[in-house]
Symmetry: C2
Subunit: 517 residues, 2 copies
Amino acid sequence: MAAPAASRSKGGRQGRGRAARRDRRIGAAVAGPAYITRRIPPYDILSEEALVRIEDTSDRILEEIGIRFQDDPRCLELWREAGADVTADLVRFPKGLVRHVLSTAPAIFTQHARNPERSVKFGGDHVVFVPSYGAPFVMDLDKGRRYGTIEDFRNFVKLAYASPWLHHSGGTVCEPTDVPVNKRHLDMVYSHIRYSDRAFLGSITAEDRAEDSIEMARLVFGAEFVERNCVVMGNVNCNSPLVWDAMATKSIRAYARANQGTVIAPFILGGAMGPVTTAGAVAQAHAEAMVGCAVSQLERPGAPTIYGNFLSSTQLRTGSPTFGTPEPAVGSLVVGQLCRRLNLPLRCSGSFTTSKLPDAQAMMESATSMHASVLSGANFAFHSAGFLDGLLSMSYEKFVMDSDYCGHMHAYLAGVPTDDNQLAFSALAEGGPGQHLFGSAHTLANYETAYWESDLSDSRSYEQWIEAGSEDAATRANRRWKQLLADYEAPPLDPGIDEALQDLMARRKASLADEWH
Amino acid sequence: MAAPAASRSKGGRQGRGRAARRDRRIGAAVAGPAYITRRIPPYDILSEEALVRIEDTSDRILEEIGIRFQDDPRCLELWREAGADVTADLVRFPKGLVRHVLSTAPAIFTQHARNPERSVKFGGDHVVFVPSYGAPFVMDLDKGRRYGTIEDFRNFVKLAYASPWLHHSGGTVCEPTDVPVNKRHLDMVYSHIRYSDRAFLGSITAEDRAEDSIEMARLVFGAEFVERNCVVMGNVNCNSPLVWDAMATKSIRAYARANQGTVIAPFILGGAMGPVTTAGAVAQAHAEAMVGCAVSQLERPGAPTIYGNFLSSTQLRTGSPTFGTPEPAVGSLVVGQLCRRLNLPLRCSGSFTTSKLPDAQAMMESATSMHASVLSGANFAFHSAGFLDGLLSMSYEKFVMDSDYCGHMHAYLAGVPTDDNQLAFSALAEGGPGQHLFGSAHTLANYETAYWESDLSDSRSYEQWIEAGSEDAATRANRRWKQLLADYEAPPLDPGIDEALQDLMARRKASLADEWH
């Protein structure tokens, strides 16, 4: 159950040649690596001394202010047993306790996909790009913004499956608002299984929905395999500042209890759910994330967990949240350093933007944010594709733009190899000064894999571009997602498994009255 | 003649408060720092061992292949005197010779502006953002693409002057094609002096034009001051691969002779003017740049010189150049490391793109490229604003988008301070868990300077944005450059100096017959 596609990928360079591009264009076969193994180091932005100041602040927050755990008595009991100071629902942590609890969490783990060639590794030098998560609206250039439906949900699962530059099917790629709130988790998990063969996230909106998600995974992978391996994960947010509510902790515990993964992500809008200063917001998030990850270890030591973060800023004149801005970007780099010192897998940043269109602002902000993700050493680059309007919308056009940028980032993460062929002394020696290299032996031997090529960017001459209709990037993206959906072919699924899943869904749905909020 | 505006700037954070924004909007007063002093380290992407492999390859190129110097016998003579092996116009360099010649070049120097508060420092932790350079066309959303004119040239000088996030007026911000080729350098230099008070670049298209540029600078600063201080620089490209032609070397020598600055930039389209592999293109560029900088030192030891680079890639299916792609970005990070080992100021990267419109592609590619610039440790971030269509066009809309992104980068380069106020323990202690921080004492004390705010990005709610006309970024940028030009007020210029400049121009123009190519 290793990841052979990844080992073939040579650091993400697989699928960069002509043959791979041709395969991609056929549509059905997705010829990207299972995940990336980075060949460039993370970027350490802060000094040791500065990091220690932040860590000390997080420790003071935990010891002196504490974290409130709402409506989950078992969680309080677990903390009391671990040695924390519990007063009503407020937990204070003696220095070193949380780090001690975290010491059982794995530094690297595999999340298995139903197609074993698409299993992903989290931690270390591994990088996994995943679609955006949680938007209530969807948006495209034809129909504008509207509430997401299960059809939209399926479309985004299909678009993610069709991209060679995404590695994971994600979770709530958009809210399927046409399905009752208490039943939509079933349709979401089913759609990930049915329309993709990649790893996916389950529900976290209630403990029983988390358990349903895990149960569906058992039907796919077998109960015994699931007991020993991570096949599904839940992504939970802290109720910042400094509150973990029952929805989150009960989901964390449900996934951990089943030996499944958790992704722990404080979501701090600076000036609202945390301090307006970056170091302060990071110190708070560090405290919150450590504690969230630790809950998984209290429930089941050794359960896989990912330390996450979702920093943003606020336009303080208006109170509007802002995304893809510089302060959260540099803050994310600090988060990466803090996480490496814990030796945990990292979720960080993504293709953030506050723009309402797939325009210049959108990709400027997203590129900033994706750079922060990649440079921070993130293992799980959350919200990598589709994020628009401050996460209120999932955009069809931006989804394909962002996936394309993930391809760009594959080449970036491959770094600069310096073997003799790459150093190319012979290429210059062949012709000498003044001789262009178009036809040189070195160029001919290397040009097919030399540069990553975008399927979306236009690099033709101005005249060719005018002649072809002078389209902008958004128009090309509009055409591309429609083509990808038209070309989509579902990966095979064992009919027995499909039937069992549909049966479980039908039974669960029949047992519940529809709830719409 | 220090830079008081910069020392007031606290790492680029000046001008981020409300008052500064109000000032900016008034138009005339430009309230940005003179330049940035970075508070984040450069990003070291390669190991020592890999860097040495590249350096060794550059040394082999210099020693075994050599560099051709065309039509500049004095330059060959200087190299012969320095100990190089000169055969006809081919020069080979014994190992260590070029580095030895470079040892007299200053690690840090000041280029003086006619407004002393706007003088800039190159080298060390200093960063200078400068408009794009050399496009024959200009472009805006109203009139599309057309050849640049002197009016366009003046407009871009004015727009650069109006931006608080640019630090330098640049050189050939566009080609003023309505002025004869052999006279336009006079109008260009005059426009920089007349319509801005920032530092600028002079002509390099012929030795006498370089000398005219320096002579005009003498009229502004006084001949004695110019003999002792850098007030003008020439930016030259290598005729890659491995050729320095007379236009370049005679200009380098003209600027160096007058103790003025040179910016030395190999321009390598991978697969054409250099190897198709990144390590190879970097090794070649390193050899070419070291030699170009060394020419300035042969002419006058101690003359200021900037080690530059302009990497791009090629779409090898079509032969089209591509800009803002991942391989040149990571290559630029390597260039930064190589330059730091020479202890020279660095010019690197900019807001590159191959897009023909100020759209999502344009800013995605530019953000990649500007990140490479900033992370490489570039001191002179060339082509920071306006670059469109692979440098064929200077775009009015993209100019204001890019300047705005330079503001974004000011905040990025300010990093993450970790003093007690920034760590904000008191902010969380004040309210405790679950208490939002909008009204906290810490938020109130810090919100004015907390986040950099774009003048161009829209972060309003979807409903507000729809109500305001649902404009995209390009439409906002179109309105903004027109407003900036309407609000423009020229900085004062001593009438005696103005008259002397006009007199020199008139005399020079009268002495030459118009040449149009």
